[in-house]
Symmetry: C2
């Protein structure tokens, strides 16, 4: 591990470079969130101190607290930044005039990209036992929304004939699990983009393990 340089894209901190103060609270706040996400990616939530995050931004700890109320909220913000694209993808898919399978594929594509994004790790790992009951519940409800959306698409697919009949709950768990897990290996193996991975997974999910009549895959 090349210490700090591996994941530390020299993403210009709003504090860096110029000595005069930039008066853009929103920009700075987002920079703090992003720095937190990168630190969490590299070292995990518990092994990341707020001093680490501050140091990455070349600022002191109270400055971080000036933009964020506490560490927990930092994780929460990273989670939201990660899951929002999936929620939006789910809404978009609902509007599509296509088979349920096509709509599901669109959702899975968004999902895969999101997990491979800079906030993927935080999104996937949040909730656990590291958060207050209130935040944990909030996160759980957002996750549940995605889960229910996928289950619904699976049921609709079984009805319109575009998806092989299946247990929606277990199938949704399998799909989400496979995609969530991307966050665990993507850091070490970035040989593919998030979009590539999503596409590859969708192919796997669609075909299944059993050979099909057609024989060949339409890659």
């Amino acid at each position: 591990m090349a210490d700090a340089s591996a994941d530390a894209v020299p993403r210009a901190s709003p504090w860096r470079a110029s000595r005069e103060r930039v008066h853009d609270r929103q920009v700075k706040r987002e920079a703090v969130i992003r720095a937190a996400a990168h630190a969490f990616n590299r070292k995990g939530y518990h092994n990341t101190s707020l001093d680490d995050i501050a140091a990455a931004l070349e600022v002191s700890k109270p400055t971080v607290y000036y933009y964020v109320s506490n560490k927990e909220q930092l994780l929460f913000e990273c989670f939201v930044a990660g899951i929002e694209p999936i929620r939006s993808g789910l809404r978009q898919a609902r509007a599509l005039k296509a088979s349920a399978r096509e709509r599901l594929k669109a959702v899975l594509d968004h999902y895969g990209r999101a997990v491979a994004s800079e906030f993927g790790w935080s999104m996937v790992r949040a909730e656990d036992q590291d958060l207050s009951p209130a935040m944990s519940a909030h996160i759980k409800s957002l996750k549940s929304e995605i889960d229910q959306g996928i289950r619904r698409l699976l049921r609709e697919g079984a009805q319109d004939g575009s998806i092989h009949p299946c247990d929606p709950k277990m199938t949704a768990f399998a799909l989400a699990g496979a995609l969530n897990w991307i966050a665990h290996w993507y850091r070490e193996d970035q040989s593919m983009t998030g979009a590539d991975i999503a596409a590859a997974f969708i192919t796997v999910f669609e075909n299944g393990l059993m050979p099909r009549a057609g024989g060949r895959v339409e890659r």
Copy 2:
């Protein structure tokens, strides 16, 4: 969550009940490992203190250290206890006289049961950034062994015609990811046994999302 009683099966601690000392180091050591696994399941690695584990066994902290050298090793032992059944399943499968798909199914069955076991969480979550480089490497090699075994079965399946042609690497990632993720939701939803879940997942993996000629699933 019913606090301590939910996961805390009143598993008799070797220390509990009798005041005269039981002289079986191995039994006690395993009790320590198991107590650690249960604590990690409930609160996560970082939120579990060695005092917690000691308290669960009704012992003092130094007693825990008498059986285990440090916290890291505790996690490592839990990991090994979790992954060993999968390794053994992989070896057994290699000896089977069956199609590659059948052998793969056998492995996935072991895999699913293992992840749903009491050590599943520790197995799945270990490695991360919580361990020394040496242990991390050790764990990584054990995980890689499983991964390579699955990829190999996928390749063999493509050759003997029992498995639909696929990208072994991505397919193995998808399968393992889906199964690993069981550890995340199984704690809260124990409505099924590990064997049931494994069977359900295998059905999903085999059929895939696209409808099949046969139409119905042979549940």
